[in-house]
């Protein structure tokens, strides 16, 4: 124990405490590796922190809310501080939410912080995920962390949906009803699942307490575990960085955790908390007191889920009314079943994308330099097309509000979305890829010919030219640091022995996709040293 501090002076009090802890926890080993860990500076690297902090805020406020909330569907007649609900039949869940809002001082603030933080949490996760996607930060060795992040997003939506349902107001109850209807629409098992989840017929007495334990225990418990694993992997892999002078695939350049990032990240927590608190103090969210308690025969127009469920809502709204009775005498409600399938399949496709791309490139190396989105046009175009698709669904999910606010027909909007669902993503894909290629071309020109200086010069023979300034070495390096894959080529039709080679379907698809990603249509070749020398050596120097 004493051996570590026997050098010159006796250990100070703080050192003694640290020694005590190290003797039991081995903290020095951890601290040695992490205390001066380097984090690169970039605003987009802070998006994950917004998620982390809003999650912490949600847990803190959520624990407070459980002190007052009663997850019970026992009925009572309200007689409390909020006059416009007096004498109304409601469940204890709804009544206790009214109490939190009107009797507990600060309860309304905490409730609104909780809800605003939840909306921002999921929005930040979505943006964080886009950042990771568009910069290729999901590539080896980070595929598993991508999966953890993906699961966190899915679980965040589940936590959000169950939380939205708890107050048992007319809006949330409509959502719970929708869920019951959707479950009933599942072939074979639908009615059984619905009966088991709701403890009998809708609405029953069980769904709120059950959602409560899912919302406060099951889902956040799993999320907490995933979150810790996610962060450990971020530490272990070290952060990605953008290309630049001195920044290679083998290092990470930035500021140390102690002190700079301790202060910046720690401070950012308070900043996020502060911004959300001010929003929660100034702007109402989910005013359950005017929504009324849930009754299965009452409803309001504008019944929507929170934003992150908007795309599923849109898909449901745009479905045509298809329902088949199959020859066995059973009914398939496609109006529910197809969206349910899409909602299941699309996220899985997103989750597996990193594995798809590594299969396509066959690249087994580690990647720590973040791509600029323009340098991988096909991936970027996929991402933006996907976003446009989600956006179309979102428009569909809010079709009634667009109709009233833009004075349009709800039927026209629905038809627009039905068509746009199929047509918009390919168009967006094509446009995005063109823009990326254009930007790549501009980078190429900048490297080869320098930056346009805006100075016009007249040559002796009368021609006007714009003087181009050569780029600084740093910039030239940055603009050419990315790698470019070559498209796979279909192997020879016959092998060296003259036997016809069989090329499997998978292999052909892979070749075709590779050509799309990395062929002439997929990227602009970056300038080579030879080209640069040729251009700068004199002739045709404009």
């Amino acid at each position: 124990m004493a051996t570590a501090t026997d050098s010159r002076r006796p250990a100070s009090k703080g050192e003694k405490v640290a020694d005590w802890a190290d003797g039991r926890l081995g903290i020095y080993g951890l601290a040695k590796a992490n205390m001066r860990k380097i984090f690169p500076d970039h605003w987009s690297f802070m998006l994950g922190e917004i998620c982390l902090y809003s999650f912490i805020i949600i847990i803190l406020t959520g624990v407070y809310l459980t002190l007052f909330f009663k997850p019970s569907m026992a009925e009572l007649v309200y007689d409390g501080s909020y006059g416009p609900m007096n004498g109304i039949h409601m469940t204890e869940a709804y009544a206790s939410t009214l109490d939190i809002s009107f009797d507990v001082r600060g309860g309304l603030l905490v409730r609104q912080i909780h809800h605003w933080a939840a909306l921002i949490f999921i929005a930040a996760m979505a943006v964080h995920m886009m950042r990771v996607f568009f910069t290729g930060a999901f590539r080896k060795p980070r595929e598993i962390n991508w999966l953890f992040g993906f699961l966190l997003l899915v679980l965040g939506c589940i936590a959000g949906f169950t939380g939205y349902s708890l107050p048992d107001d007319l809006l949330s109850g409509t959502g719970v009803r929708f869920m019951q209807g959707a479950i009933m629409g599942m072939p074979l098992v639908g009615t059984y699942l619905a009966m088991f989840l709701y403890g009998g017929e809708f609405p029953g007495d069980d769904v709120i307490p059950r959602f409560f334990s899912i919302h406060v225990l099951l889902v956040p418990g799993i999320m907490l575990g995933l979150l810790v694993a996610h962060l450990i992997l971020v530490f272990y892999h070290k952060h990605t960085q953008f290309a630049g002078p001195g920044r290679t695939n083998k290092n990470v350049v930035g500021m140390p955790l102690l002190p700079v990032y301790m202060a910046k990240a720690g401070g950012f927590f308070f900043l996020v908390f502060g911004v959300i608190t001010v929003i929660a103090g100034a702007v109402t969210i989910n005013p359950i007191w005017v929504l009324g308690p849930y009754r299965p025969d009452q409803v309001s127009t504008g019944a929507q889920p929170d934003w992150y469920m908007g795309w599923t809502e849109g898909m449901i709204r745009m479905m045509p009314g298809w329902e088949w009775v199959i020859p066995t005498g059973h009914t398939i409600n496609f109006g529910v079943f197809i969206p349910l399938m899409v909602v299941g399949v699309i996220p899985i496709a997103i989750a597996l994308y990193p594995f798809f791309e590594s299969w396509l490139t066959g690249d087994k190396r580690e990647h720590h330099i973040a791509d600029r989105p323009r340098n991988v046009p096909t991936r970027t175009a996929f991402g933006v097309a996907w976003l446009s698709w989600v956006f179309m669904c979102m428009i569909g999910g809010g079709n009634d509000l667009w109709a009233t606010h833009l004075h349009l027909s709800i039927n026209s909007i629905t038809w627009f979305v039905r068509i746009g669902f199929f047509v918009v993503p390919p168009i967006v894909f094509w446009i995005t890829r063109r823009i990326c290629l254009g930007l790549q071309r501009r980078d190429r020109d900048k490297v080869l010919h320098g930056r346009e200086s805006g100075i016009i010069k007249r040559l002796p023979h009368g021609e006007f030219i714009e003087v181009h300034e050569p780029l600084a070495q740093e910039e030239m390096h940055t603009l050419t640091a990315h790698e470019q894959y070559r498209p796979l080529e279909a192997g020879p039709k016959v092998d060296e022995n003259g036997v016809v080679r069989k090329q499997g379907v998978v292999e052909r698809v892979r070749t075709k996709l590779s050509k799309n990603y990395f062929g002439d249509a997929g990227q602009i070749p970056k300038p080579t040293a030879e080209e640069y020398r040729e251009v700068t050596s004199g002739h045709g120097h404009h």
Binding site: P84, S101, G292, L401, T404, I410
Partner: protein
Amino acid sequence: MKKLSVRRRHPLAALVVLLIALAATGGLYATFAPADKAKAEESSAQSLAIDEGKKLYQVGCASCHGTGGQGSSDGPSLVGVGAAAVDFQVGTGRMPLQQPGAQAPKKPVAYSQTEIDQLAAYVASLGPGPAQPNKSDYDPAGGDAARGGDLFRTNCAQCHNFIGKGGALTHGKFAPDLGGVTPKHMYEAMETGPQNMPVFPESLLKQKDKQDIIAWLDTVNSDKAEEPGGYGLGGLGPVSEGLFAWVIGLVLLIGVACWVAAHTAKARKS
């Protein structure tokens, strides 16, 4: 009494009885005559209003609704719609219609209240229909907002939203925002079912029920409506909340993130 019974056969007795009867009749007449006279005056005022209303009608309404309110291909019959319907349609500016569309929107009112009453009187004279309500029928102060809220959610919220912010119907039609609609017009709308709105007659929704609904709207969707949690984002629910979370919330936080991550200005400008 004996005296009277003795004298009843007196030759003048008949005359006395006649005089007494006459006096009594005169007295009765004196007692009741003013009422009759007022009635006569009122009915003449009413017929004056109907006449005035008819004139206004011929100028402003007859081209669509027909010269006798019988309706035409351009407008429905007004026989039996009642004064309440006229007061609502003209009083909210919906009539006269400016241009045909999915539905007649609220506009600046074209007539004075007196003229509206005259028009109402004329249309009411075409056939029996709901009359204009009295203030005591619709005064929100006399209603129970909590009970009204429950009725509103059963009968109205499906089209008009939780707090009457309005909503979409099919093919460009819509249920309007009820903020700023006068209690009288709300009452008349329920009573008469303008355009595609269903009718809620007394048999289905009693006067007290209507008054309670008006009290609820007065509490949650008026100038003095309380929004304890802060700015209400239009009362439109999760769509506007989601937009706000992205456009203000997340953008603010990303702005803060840019500041946190940016490098501090160097002493030497390069």
